[in-house]
């Protein structure tokens, strides 16, 4: 009896102190990063780099767990079973807004708070060096005169790159079909082998071909000239108002206390300032999507809406 009382007392004392600690200083235990793609993928690589540096900032371990499947739904539903205390942080990308727009997953932007988009990459239209097309003007003109006159493809069906292509079609008023590939690399390979005439891809997936001059970019989806491809004119300056990027970031379950979110964002901001992080971004040819917490939530909601229109127009959604 005596022992039981002591046990209860100690336990409640512990509970009280830890309760105070959470409110005062997050984090007091290890933070788990959940990545929804396989180990070694670009998203996983970002999570591991961020985890390692955040661990130095916050003084706790930040191990990365991979939970792949269901276009992220497996990881999302896992995070939904965890408490909203900031100790479980989930990776996220712009592809989430496609999955949500399709309604394939039982989640909406309301279920999560996206903390930050740390990386962003544009999409670009690439052709082989021997192509006669020199810029987006040529590209649009050719397809207006020859609807479906060339094979154009890129990563995935009903995903980001097809979305960019669809926006280009809207702006340029041309017709062309889309050959979906299982990866940006595969699309690059098909373009290199002459099996398709143009690819819509993230330029970093064909760096070697761009460097050697085997591929030429006709246009890129950044707002201003891209830092890594300053010679490529944007779609915008060529009269096609298409500004889009595929971003990668981190999010937590909705309902996570504000002070915890603030502390996480503070830590992430410190990581982003570090030389090590900037070098990592350079190596991976990544840019920043510099949005604050509120802008980020708006961005996510706006994306879900625009994706929905795209999916409906292409018959992917009723």
């Amino acid at each position: 009896m005596m022992r039981l009382t002591t046990l209860v007392l100690t336990a409640s004392a512990l509970a009280v102190t830890s309760g105070i600690a959470t409110a005062q200083e997050f984090p007091e235990k290890d933070i788990r990063f959940v990545a929804w793609s396989a180990a070694g993928s670009p998203l996983d690589t970002m999570m591991r780099q961020l985890g390692r540096q955040l661990s130095e900032e916050l003084g706790v371990e930040v191990p990365v767990e991979n939970r792949t499947g269901g276009s992220g739904a497996v990881a999302m539903s896992y995070v939904m079973t965890q408490p909203a205390d900031g100790y479980t942080v989930l990776s996220t990308t712009a592809s989430m807004t496609f999955t949500m727009a399709k309604g394939d997953v039982p989640f909406t932007p309301d279920n999560f708070t996206v903390l930050r988009a740390l990386q962003a990459e544009p999409s670009a239209v690439a052709v082989r060096a021997d192509s006669e097309l020199q810029d987006m003007g040529d590209f649009v003109e050719y397809l207006q005169e020859n609807p479906n006159g060339m094979s154009i493809g890129g990563y995935a069906s009903a995903g980001f790159h097809q979305f960019v292509f669809y926006r280009l079609q809207q702006e340029g008023e041309f017709e062309a079909s889309w050959v979906p590939f299982d990866g940006g690399n595969e699309a690059a390979l098909a373009l290199l082998g002459g099996h398709i005439d143009a690819a819509v891809l993230t330029p970093s997936s064909a760096t070697a071909q761009l460097e050697s001059g085997e591929f030429r970019l006709l246009g890129i989806s950044t707002d201003e000239r891209d830092e890594y491809f300053p010679d490529t004119p944007t779609f915008k300056e060529q009269g096609l108002d298409v500004v889009e990027s595929i971003w990668r970031g981190v999010m937590v379950k909705e309902g996570t206390p504000d002070e915890v979110i603030d502390r996480l964002i503070e830590g992430i901001a410190a990581v982003e300032k570090s030389e090590e992080w900037q070098e990592f971004m350079q190596n991976n040819m990544q840019s920043r999507l510099d949005l604050d917490l509120e802008e980020m939530q708006e961005q996510v909601r706006a994306e879900v809406e625009s994706r929905r229109t795209f999916l409906k127009d292409n018959g992917y959604l009723d």
């Binding site: 690589t45 499947g69 276009s71 009903a158 079909s177 050959v179 390979l189 099996h195 070697a208």
Partner: protein
Amino acid sequence: MQEILLGVEAVFNWQGLLAIFIGTALGIVIGALPGLGPSLGVALLIPATFSLPPSVGFNLLVSLYIAAEYGGSISAILIGTPGTAAATATVVDGYPMNRQGRGAMALQASLAASTFGGIVGAIALIVLSQPLVAFVLQFGPPEYFALGLFGLTLIASLSGDTLLKGLAAAMIGLLLAVIGVDPVSGAPRYTGGFFELYEGIPFLVVLIGVFALAEAFTLAERNDAMEEARITDTGERLTLRSAAGMLPTFLRGSVIGTLVGAIPGAGANIAGWLSYDQERRWSKEPETFGKGQIKGVAAPESANSASVGGALIPLLTLGLPGSPTTAVLIGALIIHGLQPGPSLFADSPDLVYGLFIGMLVAFPTLYILGIAAMPVWRRVLALPNSVLAVGIVILSLVGTYALRNLMFDVWLALIFGVLGYILKKLRFPMAPLVLAMVLGAIVESNYARSMIMSQGSHSIFFERPLSVVMIAVAVIALVWPMVSMVRQRRATTD
């Protein structure tokens, strides 16, 4: 010459050699464990390379890749379960050899074949990169479709004496391949609302179910006391002479492995199957295949190890991955601040030539470590069925869980285990099922891609030389056995 010296310098120091040794040792274990494979192994080891010079780190990862492709055959032979997807074809003859008490010889044949194939693949990477990459670039969606079609004709030769049951098993495999996101519309189909199935049923889960668990259930029904349940070592070992006699097998397997390995989207698994099939077709005694034919082990093993060199060709010449594992390797290079592709030759020749020399060192290392580990595997061979059955179940389920950290996959593997057990009892061959599952996805998505490219015209498959050749080969492969069967029957009735 100067570059080769640079490579020698990068490898022959204590760090470089130790990295190859550790990578090889780890790779054998990771390959042998069902569920863990080369791509996961390499990904998990990347953080360990941060503090190493890029050349040393890269050799660590590549030797793990090399050894894992061999390691897969160990569990294929010992417990009838491919340790990696690429070793699936090895089960077909490797496991029967083990049940006949010739497991030790099967293991030796696999090691010899892997070492030989791997060195051929490495030499091809060093000497023949340019012509091979030109061949690889010929592969567009119609060619992948034709290759898949040709692959499906293998089902006939994998069905053994029961063609009808083989075809039925293949149909199950094709149906399984349909589950998941539709490659054209991007919408999930036949997932039953389980988002765990959006990317399709994980291939490794099916492998573990129908091979490992089904085998464990079968083993568990046999009483250890029963004479027939015990395996007695026949004492057969691979002699230098019998190894030399298999040289043509090794060579054929190595060539197929290098070529198919270099084609992104085909890979080590399909290379193993194609090599197995060719070996059987050219054999004077095809009826011995599937019943413990040693060449049925040597052929796929030389091919899947040769595929490593092949898969590195697109990485070095194009900066694009030739296999899932090389995709992870590209990630590792980028983390080290290096740009994969031809510029590597100029920017970091120590890494490229260090890789070449490193591979030539890694394969002999693999052979030595493989021989050293033989007594351990022989001990596994001597385990009673009851221990083996429980061991297989534990290893398989842990491996399944490790794939995606999902209990869902564990249940799925158990379901496939029961399905595999029933099919086995009914004497359905398992190989056509898993082969059809791999090829089904390739055939479907590339058919769809080709149709979009040609705006719905099938002529696209017949306008391209490589596609035409492969479709013709597929038709011949399908028709020829029937023709010769009819002829034989006529001969006997006359």
